[in-house]
Amino acid sequence: MQTSAVDTETTLNVASTAAIAHHDEHPDFRIFGMIMFLLAESMIFLGLFAAYLTFRAVSTLPEDQMPELELLLPGINTLILISSSFIIHKAEDSIKENDIQGVQKWFGISAVLGVIFWRVSCLNTAT
């Protein structure tokens, strides 16, 4: 057991302007909070993947009726989705550096990727 519950001396000594300032500007933990949220969001996808694997494990469908996992088109689209984050990030960097041509280039690439993504999605649902 610790000996002191409320150490009055320490407590009073801490009442410093520095410590107050720490509290009064509301501290910025947006990155940390975002990581927490992304952790939660990734659980949706993890759950869906697990559900798919469970389905394959427990399904009583005969082998020839088992739905096949399409890999090519969704794979392309997944790549586009992930790379678009980096491309937008690049565009943002260009904005910060006042590089207008850079912004146009990166936004242009992301627009092209968007069109490809949309076409691939159409193909995918059509089949």
């Binding site: 002191s4 000594n13 801490v14």
Partner: protein, 560 residues
């Protein structure tokens, strides 16, 4: 160990900084306030209103079951009553009250922060609850969901699209609110502690909230995924879960219970934390086994994630898998038992103040033990196959969620009401409330163990006439429970306006939330909050000395 902070700093208390805060009036509670204390009370009052609605639905269920025939309501309405009852009690009462209500109110005060890490997000999370609740309960005007709170397909796919979609959207909203809350709680606990306060010096409620937040972040999204797929099956004719089109209902069950077993701990962990903080104060003794209680919360979190299929022992789960889930489930009794032993050891030989908060806390421990023991019973596969979907399960879950969570929430309200409102609750009415609740609860749910063992199935509006007498006893108990809320409502409302003014620290407690005014000012403390490194040093010499020395704002007033 306590001398953690630099000592060469000036010791004058800073001036109060309240300029930009408007005073808290009743209007504040209807506004988009970002003050964690206002949001905490908003959560508590809102969820209590939903508790009363859920209780009214339960009375409807029990009125139907007073006789073996279908007479009071139709079979269809009966299904809707128990479906919405369970959904309201879980998603609109216990989860928001335990995490959102007490978590918001207490966490910043306990760790010496001015507010939560993300105040605006906090308000957004709260304001998602009223529309979700209105949607769920308002569905009775059109078509209420009636597939049980589990909403298993294929039943939920054939029971009416409107009611089912109301249920899905409502639960998705509430789940999102819960996730946003958990982002806030975890960030606040890990990042916003007063400088110098270590994790192992926090009140145990903070540990419990950290564990519950982890569970929310990990498991709630999986439920969201399941509900999205279910709504596709329902509205777009996909066949993820619909066996008619080759889907697998068992996949839904896995996803559903991956959330809904941890949900039990989301509902009970904050209450575990509150009990750990209430017992030492009113027994005037240090908590027994601080670290054991703190770490067992984390252990429960982890184990809680790997036991979900114990709800599916009769769903065609293969024997080897049932074996794993049976053993894992029984192991949870270990960290839970550690807590119960620690609580008993804490009050053992204490100088107990037997007030309403303490009565409900001790009611919690005893009733939760009953629910926990029947939990170990149903964890065992052979026994569970016998009682699956019978009233034994209804009895078990109510001993955990009512005898456990609700008793604990009441204990928390009696304990922290003076801090929240600045006025004392009336003790006589509190004791009447406790006796009525305790008697009504046991009268209603204890006989259900027997009904279940005799094979009475749950979720059916009619039953074998041989169970008539015992069911009537249960119904009388439920009416008594309904009546038992009246003295509480009267007490809480009356004392809010006319109650005796509460001192800053009416229980002579050592934890940080009591070392400021009642109710606290918007910035929680005038000046820097005290550094309290052992909030449980009751009955020790230093504890006695320090409690005389520190009285919240007096301390600062005297110093400046």
């Amino acid at each position: 160990m306590t001398q953690a902070i630099a000592e060469n700093l000036p010791s004058s208390a800073p001036p109060p900084e309240q300029g930009h805060h408007s005073p808290t009036t009743w209007r504040t509670f209807f506004s988009f306030s970002e003050d964690h204390k206002v949001i905490g009370i908003q959560y508590l009052v809102t969820s209590f209103v939903f508790y009363l609605i859920g209780g009214a639905l339960a009375v409807g269920v029990r009125a139907e079951l007073a006789t073996p025939e279908v007479d009071f309501v139709s079979r269809e309405l009966y299904n809707q009553l128990f479906t919405v009852h369970a959904t309201v009690m879980i998603f609109l009462w216990i989860v928001p009250a335990g995490t959102g209500g007490f978590g918001n109110y207490l966490l910043p005060l306990m760790i010496g922060a001015r507010d939560m890490a993300f105040p605006k997000l906090n308000a957004v999370a709260f304001w998602m609850i009223p529309p979700a609740g209105v949607l769920l309960i308002g569905s009775f005007l059109v078509e209420a969901p009636g597939s049980g709170w589990t909403s298993y397909p294929p039943l939920s796919l054939v029971n009416g699209q409107v009611g089912e979609m109301c249920w899905i959207v409502s639960v998705l909203l509430l789940g999102t609110s819960s996730i946003l809350g958990a982002v806030n709680f975890s960030t606040t606990i890990l990042k916003m502690r007063r400088p110098g306060l270590q994790l192992t010096q926090m009140p145990l409620f903070c540990w419990a909230m950290l564990s519950a937040s982890a569970l929310i972040l990990i498991s709630t999204p999986v439920l969201a995924g399941a509900l999205i797929l279910l709504s596709f099956d329902l509205m777009l004719g996909t066949n993820f879960f619909n066996p008619a089109g080759g889907g697998e209902p068992v996949v839904y069950q896995h996803m559903f219970w991956f959330y809904s077993h941890p949900a039990v701990y989301i509902m009970i962990l904050p209450v575990f934390g509150m009990i750990s903080d209430i017992l030492p104060v009113h027994a005037r003794k240090p908590i027994f086994g601080y670290k054991a209680i703190a770490y067992s919360s984390l252990a429960i979190s982890f184990l809680g994630l790997i036991v979900w299929a114990h709800h599916m022992f009769t769903s065609g789960t293969p024997p080897w898998l049932r074996m794993f889930f049976m053993v894992a489930t029984m192991i949870i009794a270990v960290p839970t038992g550690i807590k119960v032993f620690s609580w008993v050891a804490t009050i053992w030989g204490g100088k107990i103040r037997l007030n309403s908060a303490m009565l409900f806390s001790m009611g919690f421990v005893s009733m939760f033990v009953v629910g926990g023991l029947s939990g170990v019973m149903v964890a065992s596969v052979p026994f569970d196959i016998h009682v699956h979907d019978t009233y034994f399960i209804v009895a078990h879950l109510h001993y955990v969620l009512f005898g456990g969570s609700v008793f604990g929430l009441y204990a928390g309200i009696y304990h922290w009401y003076p801090k929240m409102v600045g006025r004392m609750l009336n003790e006589t009415w509190g004791k009447i409330h406790f006796v009525l609740t305790f008697v009504g609860f046991n009268l209603c749910f204890m006989p259900m163990h027997w009904l279940g063992l005799q094979g009475m199935p749950r979720r059916v509006a009619e039953y074998d006439p041989q169970f008539a007498t015992v069911n009537l006893i249960c119904t009388i108990g439920s009416f008594l429970l309904a009546i038992s809320t009246l003295p509480f409502i009267f007490n809480a409302v009356w004392c809010w306006v006319k109650g005796e003014k509460a001192p800053n620290n009416p229980w002579n407690a050592l934890s940080l939330e009591w070392q400021t005014e009642s109710p606290p000012i918007p910035t929680n403390w005038v000046g820097e909050p005290p550094l309290i490194t052992d909030p449980y040093a009751y009955g020790t010499k230093s504890g006695r000395k320090s409690i005389g020395a520190i009285r919240g704002s007096d301390l600062w007033a005297a110093k400046s």
